[in-house]
């Protein structure tokens, strides 16, 4: 109706209804703002590209089989050709691995409580809220915490480092697993209850498998984060030059703490080893992240 009424009010015809973009200052402002948003993207990509370029360029020159597998870390004064970061590679892998063994089952269980038992109750919401708050606790505080309750009594060990990393990972795993469990449709649960299954059985054999893709991917991202952490390890594992495969006793070392120690060293050998270690660490983190993406793509059944 409005269309037929149009010509009588505007005798010039429909061409007066201007549907083009508004001209003048409004249009210019819109364009300026759009350009600024792209500038923001560039602001993020430039440092990332710059840091990856530097780490790959300088790190690739340092990495060799001997660098990754040597059994001792040489003193800082020695040049690159002697020894390598083998002990730190092993330390990072076993300390992070043990942390994952502690944090992932506990985190998934905590998420199960929030999503399956406490979704509407006070306790469930309270735990979810605390997990959110705990993700904001600085990593160095976790290191101090484990130092005060564990290291003072039992001394430095790889396990103490694992505890600190597990404290960091726990809320992240709870959060990501909870998000995934929440996506599982209720009809699945109801169907299993109708067959007479108990709640524990429904959770473990129906709900958990349905969400497992997302849970694994979230856990892998948490491991990737933890593998790069330095601050929680400084006061829990101390440092050592020779490989220590015993997680439960004796001082240990990790790639991240070695990079921190070498970064301020005046010797080029130490500096080059730091770049090599940085590339190794980034490679570990990125590989975990890529696996997480593949798991997400392959196994995720329910998405938002």
């Amino acid at each position: 109706m409005a269309v037929t009424a149009e010509p009588s009010r505007t005798p010039q015809g429909p061409s007066t209804v201007d549907l083009r973009e508004p001209a003048g200052w409004r249009r210019t402002k819109n364009q300026i703002m759009t350009v600024l948003m792209w500038v923001a993207l560039v602001c993020v990509l430039v440092p990332l590209g710059f840091v990856l370029y530097t780490v790959i360029g300088k790190g690739a020159a340092a990495i060799s089989w001997q660098f990754l597998s040597s059994s001792t870390i040489p003193p800082n004064v020695l040049p690159l050709g002697i020894g390598g970061m083998g002990p730190a590679v092993i330390g990072t892998l076993i300390i992070t691995g043990f942390a994952a063994l502690i944090a992932i089952p506990l985190g998934v269980l905590g998420a199960i409580y929030i999503s399956e038992y406490g979704a509407t109750g006070f306790l469930g919401k309270f735990i979810a809220f605390l997990a959110d708050v705990m993700t904001g606790v600085p990593s160095i505080v976790m290191g101090l915490f484990i130092y005060t309750i564990w290291v003072i009594q039992f001394g430095y060990s790889g396990m103490a480092g694992s505890f600190a990393l597990a404290c960091l990972m726990l809320p992240i795993v709870i959060r990501s697993s909870y998000e995934m469990l929440r996506l599982v449709p209720n009809s699945l649960r109801e169907g299993s209850y109708a067959l007479g299954a108990t709640k524990a059985r429904v959770t473990l054999t129906v709900v958990l498998p349905a969400a497992i893709g997302g849970i694994v991917s979230g856990a892998l991202l948490a491991i990737a984060r933890a593998a790069g952490e330095t601050a929680p390890l400084l006061f829990t594992i101390f440092t050592v030059e020779a490989t220590n495969t015993n997680l439960f006793s004796g001082v240990n070392t990790a790639l991240s703490t070695q990079i921190f120690a070498n970064a301020t060293s005046p010797y080029t050998g130490a500096e080059q080893r730091a770049w090599g270690a940085a590339l190794t660490l980034i490679a570990i983190a990125f590989i975990l992240m890529i696996i997480a993406r593949l798991v997400t793509a392959r196994f995720t059944r329910y998405t938002r």
């Binding site: 973009e21 508004p22 409004r26 402002k29 819109n30 703002m33 759009t34 948003m37 500038v39 923001a40 993207l41 602001c43 993020v44 440092p47 990332l48 840091v51 905590g110 409580y113 399956e116 038992y117 406490g118 735990i127 809220f129 997990a131 959110d132 705990m134 904001g136 606790v137 600085p138 990593s139 160095i140 101090l144 915490f145 005060t148 726990l170 709870i174 108990t198 709640k199 524990a200 059985r201 473990l204 991202l221 990737a224 593998a227 790069g228 952490e229 330095t230 601050a231 400084l234 006061f235 991240s256 990079i259 921190f260 970064a263 940085a278 660490l281 980034i282 983190a285 990125f286 992240m289």
Partner: protein, 329 residues
């Protein structure tokens, strides 16, 4: 289960209904196990507060309240004032926020309002990569690549602003250093951008399409639509995201420890060397042997813990409140 038993016809008095059996032990056990795992979070948070408070008592008894609130930190003369570190932490985090806020919000708007889904997914992957680069790698890059480069820029800026009232006291001075409050701010900004971007993106994604289409129907440009429909709906959540980023920046340790310059001083000159709470803990804990020194560093950790908890509670509170208001509207 209880609803089912209630709906059934009333069972004979005295005999339990077949569906109202006691839950098997394993079922209860699993629930208790899950609850215990969840409560572990509470236990850890309480233990952090208790254990660090206990270990830092000798700091309080040795230097007293006045000593703690001084800016003088000198372990050789038993001076353990915290304020220079508090100052450095706040200044470097504020610089980080001033840089990261527009960049993150710009990115979040770009990803949700401008680029099509096909392009926004790969961009999100790239930002996630940024989040996975370890902080010690940012620190290493910062001190070996960025600091020497910024040293030259800072020097020319400081000679450029010489004599200009406010700018001179912020960016001028004779002791300009490549490792400084400002450098720490830049590195921290890079590190908190991914988290602010992803949290803001989540909030902005919840803006109802009908609001946006309404704005367009009224003839708004995209920017006017963002100002009129997206921003009012999501500003609370974005402020919460920024606060969470602020908490992260204050607690960020290793990158700050490497690039902030490591000298405890309170100055208005942003290109001077400084120190932050986490940085001093990381750098000096190894050499702190017993007494008020070590306990002072643990006390600084407790202080950092309390501050970040407060900032996070505040952030979650703001996010909750806006979420509730937008649901109610």
């Amino acid at each position: 289960v209880s609803a089912v038993t209630k709906a059934d016809p009333a069972p004979e008095a005295g005999s339990a209904h077949p569906l109202a059996q006691r839950r098997p032990l394993g079922d209860r056990g699993f629930q208790i196990l899950a609850l215990a795992a969840g409560l572990l979070v509470l236990v850890i948070l309480v233990l952090i507060a208790v254990s660090t408070a206990e270990q830092s008592t000798s700091w309080f008894t040795t230097v007293g309240l006045k000593g703690i609130f001084s800016t003088d930190w000198d372990p050789t003369t038993n001076h353990f004032g915290a304020m220079a570190f508090v100052y450095g932490t706040v200044i470097s985090s504020v610089i980080a926020l001033i840089i990261a806020f527009p960049v993150s919000v710009g990115m979040a708007l770009l990803l949700t309002q401008v680029v099509p889904r096909k392009w926004s997914d790969p961009i999100v992957y790239v930002i996630d990569l940024l989040a996975v680069v370890p902080s010690v790698v940012w620190g290493l890059w910062g001190i070996l690549v960025l600091v020497p480069w910024l040293q030259k820029i800072y020097t020319s800026i400081s000679s450029g602003v010489k004599g200009i009232p406010v700018l001179d006291s912020l960016f001028g001075g004779a002791n300009v250093s490549g490792a400084s409050f400002f450098t720490a701010g830049i590195i921290l900004a890079i590190m908190i951008t991914p988290i602010i971007t992803s949290l803001s993106r989540e909030v902005i994604a919840t803006v109802p399409t009908i609001d946006k289409e309404g704005a367009y129907a009224l003839g708004a440009t995209r920017w006017e639509m963002i100002r009129g429909a997206v921003w009012p709906h999501s500003q609370g959540g974005v402020i919460g995201a920024v606060l969470i980023g602020f908490g992260r920046a204050m607690g960020e340790t290793i990158a700050a420890a490497l690039v902030i310059g490591s000298s405890a001083q309170v100055t208005s000159h942003l290109f001077y060397t400084g120190y932050s709470i986490p940085a001093v803990i990381a750098n000096q804990f190894g050499e702190a042997t017993g007494g008020a020194f070590r306990s002072g560093l643990i006390g600084l950790g407790l202080f950092l813990f309390v501050i970040t908890i407060i900032v996070n509670l505040l952030a979650r509170g703001i996010v909750e409140r806006t979420a509730r208001r937008s649901r109610g509207a």
